[in-house]
């Protein structure tokens, strides 16, 4: 066994501002060249653990610690945050937020500049690091000229430039589309092989991380380590279900079919998975036993877009090109596609934030062009991704009442309407709370409530579940489904393929300003051409179906979704 590089011994930590410790009795060793995934639901302490490893704790966030944490045999207290940063390189979650330099080259050079590395060496090392992550052709680019994946490469180069021995990734997949996420995991794997660095990944998207080999998974819950074992062992146990982490979809399907997951089946990835004839038969039998969901009756068209064309001033290419589509009343619809494909612009045209140069938009036989932003908002609500971008009041009640008050509704009516909305949104118990006391997910609910108070017939949500763990994700999505059952049309712009598969009835796939597919989600996520063009990822269920000798694997994916919805509904 190689030397330990990070050693926690009976380590505990409590933030100064909090009454309870965040970490209890952590015992964890990471050795040179290892690849460790740290998983756990929100609030389990995994980010705090990461902060301890890179030195933000105790040097930026203050608190009381107990036990010991050694990096390369030295106590972190002696090393200081700058000492630790020589050994541990951190790639943070938000690739945009951590981009410091005005250009790629300057950002990569940042750590070296702070070390006073001078001229020829500085340029040469930046070159070398940029080649490692294959960004050397973009050295002069500004951050807004790069895609999310490229920005992440720059962040990676920015820590690689220092020849660190540990690479720490804090939710590396959170802001990437599925295909880019897949490439990111491949890149991390390759970098590790080249440099021999230890890699620690903090992530709750297990299936996506396991796309490449991982030595160990450390599962956390409520500030403690619940399991520290190989992926195969972990996936065969019941730890995941108990701690509210989503297991890989193909395993869920196997469990539905009554297959017991055993470590020797190599459950850690769909590629490695081996199924004996008996298991395959169980899955086939399950497929044939589950009845297909009944077709839903066609509902009237609510929103009709005809020949839309739009380009931002100063940009040559059209962001939306000759786009026509329909959204039906009461639908639960997903809009997917890469960044810049025109998804957000399409929703901005609907809400009236931008005006199309060609084409028309009709909402329930009314031409939207005749309506102002405010008037459209009475029909179609828009919820931004980050709730902090919408909240401007101190109290929940006032925030939800804001839109009604600006519409000069009498105060007693406002009260009645807000109270009703708060009840629908499950915020009634918090009605007299200040917003600052709420969690991120609850704030999200407040912003949705503030839009619902206007009683729109359709709501458009930008990445409704971004940054949420499985439990909160399920909460939000069940809430949206409940709204949908009340007859509100729900349109979600998303990168999350699970969300699409599990909840959306239909998907509009955008690519370069056009809709390249308009069909049910199972069809989208099993079609290689669409997957490639829209930067999505094939669902592992499809391969599972094929492995088990099902001829119509797409029907299998559909069956799984129908069954899953039944399970959730009951």
């Amino acid at each position: 066994m190689s030397d330990p590089i990070i050693q926690f011994e009976h380590f505990g930590f409590q933030y100064n501002a909090q009454s309870e410790p965040t970490l209890y009795d952590i015992n964890l060793t990471v050795r040179k060249g290892e690849k460790v995934l740290i998983a756990g639901p929100s609030g389990c302490g995994k980010s705090t653990l990461a902060h301890c490893i890179n030195g933000l704790i105790p040097f930026s966030y203050r608190g009381e610690s107990s036990g010991t944490l050694k990096i390369k045999g030295k106590e972190t207290g002696e090393l200081g945050i700058f000492g630790i940063s020589r050994t541990v390189g951190t790639v943070l979650q938000d690739p945009d937020g951590q981009f410091i330099g005005l250009t790629v080259a300057e950002d990569i050079a940042f750590a070296l500049e702070n070390d006073c590395v001078a001229e020829p060496e500085l340029h040469e090392r930046v070159q070398r690091a940029s080649r490692m992550v294959n960004i050397q052709d973009h050295l002069g680019h500004a951050p807004n000229e790069l895609s999310g994946g490229q920005k992440q490469r720059v962040s990676l180069a920015g820590v690689m430039v220092d020849d660190v021995e540990v690479l720490l990734f804090d939710e590396p997949l959170a802001n990437l589309d599925p295909a880019t996420g897949k490439t990111a995991m491949e890149l991390i794997d390759e970098i590790q092989r080249q440099t021999g660095a230890a890699v620690i990944i903090i992530e709750h998207r297990l299936e996506d991380v396991l796309h490449r080999h991982v030595d160990r998974i450390v599962l956390m819950g409520k500030g403690r380590i619940l399991a520290d074992t190989s992926p195969a062992e972990l996936l065969s146990g019941s730890w995941l279900a108990d701690s509210g982490i989503r297991e890989p979809l193909y395993l869920t399907a196997l469990k539905y079919a009554g297959v017991t997951i055993r470590p020797e089946m190599h459950p850690e990835s769909i590629e490695a998975l081996t199924l004996d004839e008996e298991d395959q038969k169980k899955l086939r039998d399950w497929f044939h036993a589950v009845p297909p969901a009944p077709e839903k009756p066609a509902r009237p068209v609510q929103l009709r877009a005809e020949g839309l064309g739009f380009s931002y001033p100063g940009k040559g290419r059209q962001t939306i090109r000759d786009l026509s589509t329909q959204i039906r009343q009461g639908e639960l619809l997903a809009i997917v596609g890469t960044n810049g494909a025109g998804k957000s612009t399409f929703s901005k045209l609907i809400c009236g934030f931008e005006t199309q140069q060609q084409g028309t938009l009709q909402f329930e036989d009314e031409d939207l062009a005749a309506l102002s932003i405010k008037e459209r908002a009475d029909r179609i609500g828009y919820v931004m991704q980050n709730p902090n971008q919408m909240i401007s009041k101190v109290m929940i009640f006032d925030e939800v009442a804001l839109g009604l008050r600006t519409r000069k509704m009498p105060e007693d009516e406002v009260r009645e309407r807000v109270e009703e909305t708060l009840k629908i949104c499950g915020l009634w118990p918090f009605r007299s709370w200040p917003i600052s006391a709420l969690s991120f997910g609850q704030k999200k609910r407040v912003t949705i409530a503030s839009i619902l108070a206007l009683r729109p017939k359709m709501i458009i949500l930008d990445e409704p579940t971004a940054g949420q763990d499985y439990r909160h994700y399920t909460d939000i999505m069940e809430f949206l489904t409940a709204l949908n059952r009340r007859g509100i049309t729900v349109v979600m712009i998303t990168h999350d393929m699970h969300l699409m598969l599990e909840y959306a009835e239909r998907a509009l796939v955008f690519s370069r300003g056009r809709i390249i597919a308009d069909t049910d989600c199972a069809a989208v996520l099993t079609d290689p051409a669409i997957i490639r063009e829209a930067s999505l990822k094939e669902t592992s269920l499809y391969e599972l179906g094929q492995r088990c000798g099902l001829e119509d694997s797409r029907a299998f994916v559909r069956r799984f979704i129908d069954y899953e919805r039944e399970v959730f509904r009951s």
């Binding site: 890179n54 943070l92 005005l102 070390d115 006073c116 001078a118 809400c351 934030f353 902090n388 839009i451």
Partner: protein, 275 residues
């Protein structure tokens, strides 16, 4: 997206000077132009700045917006000076050659016109050089330049960061204001000032809150990569001084010296042709 640094990359000797040189020259030049009202020197500076503009290959069209803006400001400034102190020239130069009586105190004199000429020349001597600096200095190099002339690098870097984040914050402001308009926050000029201030808070509070998140991320990212570790740091974009840098700075220093010498020789800031 507009940036306050409207850097235009063109091959020219002015672009090749380091940012630090250009900053020093700008400071020396503007001190010179501020120090004196000597018409001869101001004419010389104005002409020289036009020549430099030519050399830099920056066209009038590239800076037309800023030029228009300052032209309006200049006209306004002159008008106000005349309205409020029409006899300022007479007081300064100690003689009065009347040209036209508009009634009351408003008498047009040769002295007053000459004073206005100097005022206009001051604009002509400084504005082009400021625009030249803005258009020919790579923003990436600016922080390094500030650090070079003695500003602490932590402060210099905050300037660079502001430049980095201005486009992001502009975009975010735009997005927030759209979403808030949908909720009925009126930002149009039809509303009263009080109402608009109230509306502005509905946009600014979310903007500030999300900017705070941003600041936390960036300061962590910087600290994790060793910002503030040493008293000094190197700069990726820093460039070595060449002969031309030294010459440019010497030339600018000479201009300032000339301005000071003329002030001594003239016995004040004004050159008086009326004696």
């Amino acid at each position: 997206m507009t940036n306050i640094f409207n850097y235009i990359d063109r091959p020219s000797p002015i672009h090749r000077l380091t940012g630090a040189t250009k900053l020093v020259c700008l400071l020396l030049w503007s001190f010179a132009a501020m120090a004196t009202y000597d018409t001869r020197l101001l004419v010389f500076l104005a002409l020289l700045s036009l020549v430099l503009f030519r050399v830099s290959r920056i066209g009038i069209r590239d800076v037309s917006f800023m030029l228009g803006f300052t032209a309006v400001f200049m006209v306004l400034n002159n008008l106000l000076v005349f309205v409020f102190s029409p006899q300022h020239g007479v007081e300064l130069y100690g003689s009065s050659h009347v040209l036209l009586r508009l009634g009351g105190r408003w008498i047009i004199t040769k002295e007053q016109l000459f004073y206005h000429l100097n005022l206009v020349l001051k604009y002509l001597a400084t504005i082009p050089i400021v625009l030249l600096f803005v258009c020919t200095t790579n923003p990436s190099e600016f922080a390094a330049s500030l650090n070079r002339i003695g500003v602490k690098y932590t402060i210099a870097y905050s300037v660079a960061l502001a430049l980095r984040y201005i486009p992001d914050i502009q975009r975010e402001y735009h997005e927030i204001s759209q979403a808030q308009q949908a909720r009925g926050i009126e930002m149009s000029k039809k509303e009263s000032l009080v109402k608009r201030l109230k509306s502005a808070s509905a946009i600014l509070i979310p903007l500030i809150l999300s900017s705070m998140d941003r600041i936390e991320v960036i300061s962590n990212a910087m600290e994790l990569r060793g910002f503030g570790k040493n008293k000094k740091r190197s700069w990726y974009m820093a460039r070595r001084f060449t002969r031309w840098d030294i010459l440019a700075m010497l030339g600018s220093a000479l201009l300032l010296a000339a301005a000071i010498l003329l002030n001594v020789y003239n016995g004040g800031r004004f050159w008086n042709p009326f004696i």
